[in-house]
């Protein structure tokens, strides 16, 4: 594949969701490895994953099928291929044959055949297009198997085999090379900050040598919801924080993680970590982005290889804390609101209460979706799925669950704290000509600050 990524994979940042333009010809097999080399590369990556925790999960499945009932893809289509644990079949097969306690027998008598490149290719759609790693299946499994974690691990092998969906590979490669998956390069970001700062008359400190708080952003915000940058600045300025944005480390999304490239995941995380260390930040604020929270709050220290020398908070946690401490004051906002829990922040991240505390401070009537919080349905765009054109039809089908949930609340306003969910909602809204618009919790706070 050509390395001229702009020519081969031009970005499309004008639509309701951001990705590369719909490819005329798909490249879902990267590189020119032979089938054998692909399998071997996948196996090497899989072997890294087969530790005690993963092995326990892979050994425990009783084939009860309950996980299917939790997964949006199965529930909406009735297609058994979307059964969560079935998505792991090649990963499980590799484990049994190569690493499990009876691997020797499996190999000796060929009880489990070697995983083939074709098999991996066939599973690409199951491991990427139809899994947002939302973790709902983890919540239902009677054996407690964390299927979402295993899907993330299986993706590591898929990347090494060069079997990532075209769009996801392209944006991940761009992120690794340019620092942003969606063209929010340092130069673009700097321009935007200057423009926003001018237009809104708000001070946005950039590249301070020393700061207490380092603010990171999602490319989706920079390119699609730049008002989020203004909102963040308004809040931090109102709190008199000594804060900064740094052009050597600002991107919080991690498409290395989503696509399954461990090295790229590390490269992207280290940029942010290094920037925070350089300016002596005590706190790193993560933007309204779900997987960014997983990548830094929970994986950041492990990528770093030791505890992070600063605290990591999602912006909703930061808002809740500032409000609770009496430092940030807000006035009453809309009358009734329903809140969409971004999976990676809530069910997978534990920051479920913070946005609700913020909404309570805003004096709104919170009308919870059923189910919400832990059991909440995914928007269908996580795990990199929203970038994949091939997955659009399926994504719209699962989005129907979410639309119904929102409609059933009868709330006036729909709020969330993840810009990736938000663009998925925007795209769904455009597709279904739906009358509900997604709003950002942060922007709602910034619009209702008491100065």
């Amino acid at each position: 594949m050509s390395t001229d990524i702009d020519a081969v994979h031009p970005l499309d940042t004008s639509g309701a969701r951001l990705s590369i333009k719909k490819p005329v010809q798909r490249f879902d097999r990267q590189g020119d490895l032979s089938d054998r080399e692909r399998t071997e590369a996948a196996m090497r990556a899989f072997m890294h994953e087969f530790g005690a925790v993963t092995a326990t999960y892979l050994e425990s499945c009783i084939h009860c099928g309950m996980c299917a009932e939790a997964c949006q893809y199965y529930v909406q289509t009735g297609d058994p291929r979307y059964t969560p644990v079935h998505k792991l079949e090649p990963f499980k097969q590799a484990y049994k044959r190569e690493a499990g306690p009876f691997a020797l027998f499996y190999r000796m008598f060929n009880l489990k055949p070697r995983v083939s490149a074709d098999e991996l290719q066939n599973w690409q759609e199951l491991l990427y297009d139809s899994c947002t790693m939302c973790g709902r299946c983890t919540l239902i499994c009677p054996m407690g198997i964390d299927i979402a974690r295993l899907v993330g691990q299986a993706r590591h092998g898929m990347f090494q085999a060069g079997l990532v969906p075209h769009e996801l590979w392209a944006v991940a490669e761009r992120a690794e090379r340019e620092g942003s998956p969606l063209g929010a390069t340092p130069a673009v970001f700097k321009d935007r900050i200057a423009w926003l700062s001018d237009e809104h008359g708000v001070e946005i400190p950039v590249d301070r040598d020393q700061a207490d708080v380092l603010v990171s952003m999602s490319s989706i915000e920079i390119m699609k919801y730049p008002q989020a940058i203004v909102a963040t600045a308004k809040v931090l300025n109102a709190l008199n924080e000594k804060w900064t944005i740094r052009l050597d480390g600002y991107e919080a999304t991690n498409f290395g993680m989503l696509s399954g490239n461990v090295q790229w995941q590390k490269d992207l995380s280290m940029k942010l970590i290094n920037a925070a260390v350089k300016c002596g930040a005590k706190l790193l604020i993560l933007p309204e982005c779900g997987h960014a929270y997983g990548a830094m709050r929970w994986d950041g220290a492990n990528v770093y290889g030791k505890p992070l020398p600063f605290e990591v908070l999602h912006i909703s946690e930061y808002l809740a804390r500032s409000i609770a401490g009496g430092r940030l004051r807000v006035k009453k906002a809309a009358a009734s609101v329903t809140f969409h829990d971004p999976c990676q922040i809530s069910r997978r991240g534990g920051a479920t209460q913070a946005p609700r505390d913020v909404l309570a401070a805003l004096g709104v009537e919170l009308r919870e979706m059923v189910p919400s919080r832990m059991g909440s349905w995914c928007c269908g765009g996580g795990g990199g799925v929203v970038t994949i054109h091939r997955a659009d039809d399926l994504r719209y089908r699962v989005f129907e669950i979410k639309m119904k949930q929102v409609d059933d609340t009868g709330a006036e306003m729909l709020v969330m704290s993840c810009s990736n969910c938000r663009q998925t909602f925007d795209d769904g809204q455009a597709h279904f000509k739906w009358d509900k618009t997604a709003h950002s919790l942060l922007e709602l706070v910034a619009d209702n600050l008491v100065q």
């Binding site: 050994e59 425990s60 009860c64 009876f102 009677p142 220290a301 997978r348 479920t352 832990m374």
Partner: protein, 217 residues
């Protein structure tokens, strides 16, 4: 040596040996694999408590999942509870356990046991029918699922035949019953029956993971 002596003697000894050694092999093969340290700052402490909580709480589905899982769960609970009552409540079983371990307790009336055994068998058959007809289960199922079903159902069937003195001499039926249980013992470490022992480990891991992240499952 007749069949019954064999079932009670050498076969019992060997099947128990395979059972114990197999479990040891499988568990060490899993649990001694590498572990990585998690450097992230936990939101809350109490991983052990979280593990215990999930080990217990996961026995019952969350509210939002109940409607979609009720039938499968009811069937599975029926044969699990039925098996437990029959295995641990039948007087001859208790006598055997006492002779092996020295531990004993009062049994249930035979009539109750027979009733439970029949219910267990019916539930097992319903589970099997579900497995061969439900599209998801059909897709997931492999040799292990069917073979494990056979070795679980066989002792129930042979047990019922034995107490009913039906189909052969009592001694032969009893020998077959014991042998069928021994097959279950031998298969236990190698297939899905191991979930009995893996359950607390797998659930505990996830419970600890949730506790660390402050997720309230």
């Amino acid at each position: 040596m007749n069949l019954l002596d064999f079932a009670r003697g050498a076969a019992m000894k060997w099947s128990l040996a395979v059972f114990v050694f197999g479990i040891f092999w499988r568990l060490t093969g899993i649990l001694l694999l590498h572990r990585t340290h998690d450097y992230s700052v936990p939101r809350a402490h109490g991983a052990l408590l979280g593990a215990l909580r999930t080990i217990i709480a996961r026995s019952w589905p969350r509210r939002e999942f109940r409607a979609r899982t009720a039938y499968g769960l009811a069937v599975s609970y029926a044969f699990h509870i039925g098996l437990a009552i029959v295995v641990f409540g039948f007087v001859p079983h208790i006598l055997l356990i006492r002779s092996l371990t020295g531990l004993g307790w009062n049994g249930l009336p035979d009539g109750v046991i027979y009733f439970c055994a029949v219910v267990t068998l019916i539930a097992l058959i319903m589970a099997l029918i579900r497995r061969v007809t439900h599209p998801v289960l059909k897709l997931l199922s492999n040799f292990d699922d069917y073979f494990s079903w056979v070795v679980t159902a066989a002792p129930v069937v042979t047990g019922l035949l034995t107490v009913a003195h039906y189909g052969a001499r009592y001694e032969t039926l009893l020998a077959l019953h014991i042998l069928s249980f021994e097959v279950l013992l031998v298969w236990f470490p190698f297939g899905k029956l191991m979930h009995g022992l893996l359950l607390p480990v797998a659930r505990g891991q996830t419970g600890a993971f949730y506790a660390r992240r402050g997720v309230n499952p």
